[in-house]
């Protein structure tokens, strides 16, 4: 049971290959991570550490895409506070400390026939690697406030990419659920995978349950250790058999959960 030295997970220093804005306050960063690229499942996240010591806690950012051959990871992050602002100032060939990968990703069957992916804002990136790996037909619905990003990347893996924006500047004006209701052919069987703001996750879950589709949602919560030790980043998860709920760790049991098991009434 005790791990030997070569089996320990580590905080690693990696090289930044690219760090560019792809929309207002949204950045794409490519990292040279070597063999780690082979261990990643879509929906997992990495921890990024700030250089400024007063920012003690690592920032959890979901993995957007993996290039196993080159040993690279792509992450897409928004500038939401001082830590991500610091990351945006980094240049290619500088280094950054990370732990990767963390958490539990999306699950699917090898003979999957039809998948529906729904992303909102900064919840869009983790669906890209999933779209790439899923077999069968993949429909992708992406919602943005105004300026879309990563749309062309998704089009590489599927012909069925639909966009919604709050202001109608791109795609359909309205919510991603509106577009989904209009455009999806709604096969008898499909699996739904989603990531985005909580109200969106909740409404997509409700839709999927009505259709009888299994649904996996990726949750976000303020996090400290990222490895399951501190029990800081919890969400309410109910046991579908007993109806009993408990707080589970987004970093360890998640970030991907069965949408039907999530209790949404917690303040976000």
């Amino acid at each position: 049971m005790c791990l030997t030295e070569d089996q320990w997970k580590r905080k690693k220093t990696v090289v930044i290959i690219k760090n560019e804005a792809i929309a207002k306050d949204v950045y794409e960063m490519d990292l040279q991570v070597g063999e780690t690229a082979k261990e990643i499942e879509p929906g997992q996240f990495i921890h990024l550490y700030c250089r400024q010591g007063q920012r003690l806690l690592p920032r959890p950012i979901s993995i957007c895409e993996v290039d196993e051959k080159k040993g690279r990871l792509k992450i897409v992050y928004g500038i939401v506070g001082s830590g991500t602002k610091e990351f945006a100032s980094y240049s290619p060939f500088e280094t950054i400390d990370i732990i990767a990968p963390l958490g539990k990703g999306y699950q699917w069957e090898s003979q999957e026939k039809h998948s529906i992916l729904v992303g909102g804002g900064l919840g869009v990136p983790p669906l890209l690697e999933l779209a790439k790996r899923l077999p069968g037909k993949v429909e992708v619905y992406l919602g943005f406030r105004s300026q879309p990003f990563l749309v062309e990347n998704f089009k590489k893996y599927t012909d069925f990419v639909y966009i919604a924006t709050d202001d109608g500047s791109h795609g359909t004006k309205g919510t991603v659920l509106d577009v989904l209701k209009n455009k999806s052919e709604c096969p008898e069987k499909a699996r739904v995978y989603t990531c985005g703001p909580k109200p969106m996750l909740q409404s997509i879950t409700q839709w999927a349950v009505e259709k009888g589709y299994p649904i996996q949602v990726s949750l976000e919560e303020r996090m400290a250790c990222g490895v399951g030790a501190c029990v800081g980043c919890v969400c309410k998860i109910k046991d579908l058999q007993t109806g009993e709920w408990q707080y589970q760790r987004v970093c360890k049991e998640g970030p991907v959960f069965n949408g039907k098991e999530v209790i949404w009434n917690e303040e976000s």
């Binding site: 005790c2 997970k9 690592p58 501190c230 917690e266």
Partner: protein, 301 residues
């Protein structure tokens, strides 16, 4: 090789480095990042007599050089701990310290009694958690209660009893003396400072509970000062903690009077923090030719 052994209430630790309760689970998670055999002791997350659900999220807020938490002692209860965590930790050559939590004196006593025949080395009485309404810090801020709960739990415990003190008091030495009178075998300090952080964009506290426990490098001077004061006031062995991230930090606590030290929040910034603290202590001893830690312990008078 320098002598790193320390003795806490009759229990010999191979070195003075422990983990701070609540930051390290029961060792399982960080055991994937480091060799737990190298630690003097693992201090596990608070264990209560029944499972506790804990507080609603958000439970975490980063602050300058530190963080706030309001986990609220979420734990699966003493039975799960005995069944799963003790066998896990016993695979390693390290001492097991169990942090015990309760809402009433009776509950603390029940946990101590349930652990009396369990294979653990020390108990740490948590009367200083700022994140629970009942028990916790309510017992740790009144010297009469500190003495009473210590005395009662002592009656039910077989292992030596460490009392963990809260810094959220006017004079921590009063609490230390009360624990000593109550029969404590040692003291650990400090638990987190009560703090608050406000999200000015949403115009509400960051934490769902409003306030939480402040930890991390930012609190270290407060912790060193309290260890120093308590050392002057009582003769019990002290486990010092609060913002320790390096060997130099640990040496400060030892010079202030700590017998052992604990590393907590630093793990979130560096999963191997406790082992690097140990290496740092050894480097200091080499550099200044300190043969054993008692040569520098409490040298600040």
């Amino acid at each position: 090789m320098k002598n790193l052994k320390v003795n806490i209430a009759g229990v010999e630790l191979k070195n003075p480095v422990m983990t701070a309760s609540g930051t390290f689970g029961s060792g399982r998670e960080y055991g994937e990042y480091m060799d737990l055999n190298q630690l003097g002791a693992v201090v596990v997350k608070g264990v209560a007599i029944t499972p506790w659900k804990g507080n609603p999220p958000p439970r975490i807020a980063e602050t300058y050089g530190g963080m706030l938490n309001s986990v609220g002692l979420q734990n699966p209860g003493v039975e799960v701990f005995i069944e799963q965590d003790i066998p896990f930790l016993r695979q390693y050559d390290t001492k097991i310290v169990v942090n015990i939590a309760g809402k009433t004196i009776e509950e603390y006593c029940q946990v101590a009694e349930r652990l009396a025949d369990a294979d653990v080395d020390l108990l740490e009485l948590n009367i200083s958690c700022p994140n629970v309404k009942e028990g916790g810090v309510a017992f740790g801020t009144d010297p009469r209660m500190v003495e009473k709960v210590t005395r009662e739990v002592k009656k039910h415990s077989k292992q030596p009893l460490i009392v963990k003190l809260s810094p959220n008091v006017t004079d921590i030495t009063e609490m230390a003396k009360a624990a000593e009178v109550g029969g404590a075998d040692g003291l650990s300090l400090i638990n987190t400072l009560l703090g608050m952080s406000i999200d000015i964009h949403k115009r509400r506290p960051v934490l769902a509970m409003g306030v939480g426990g402040f930890s991390g490098p930012a609190i270290k001077p407060v912790a060193v000062r309290m260890v120093y004061q308590v050392k002057q006031a009582v003769s019990l062995p002290i486990i010092g903690m609060g913002g320790i991230a390096t060997g130099e930090d640990a040496i400060e606590f030892i010079m202030a009077g700590a017998t052992a030290i604990a590393v907590g929040t630093a793990h979130f910034h560096n999963p191997r923090a406790s082992l690097e603290v140990l290496e740092g202590i050894q480097e200091y001893m080499e550099k200044y030719k300190v043969q054993e830690l008692k040569k520098i312990r409490g040298i600040i008078k």
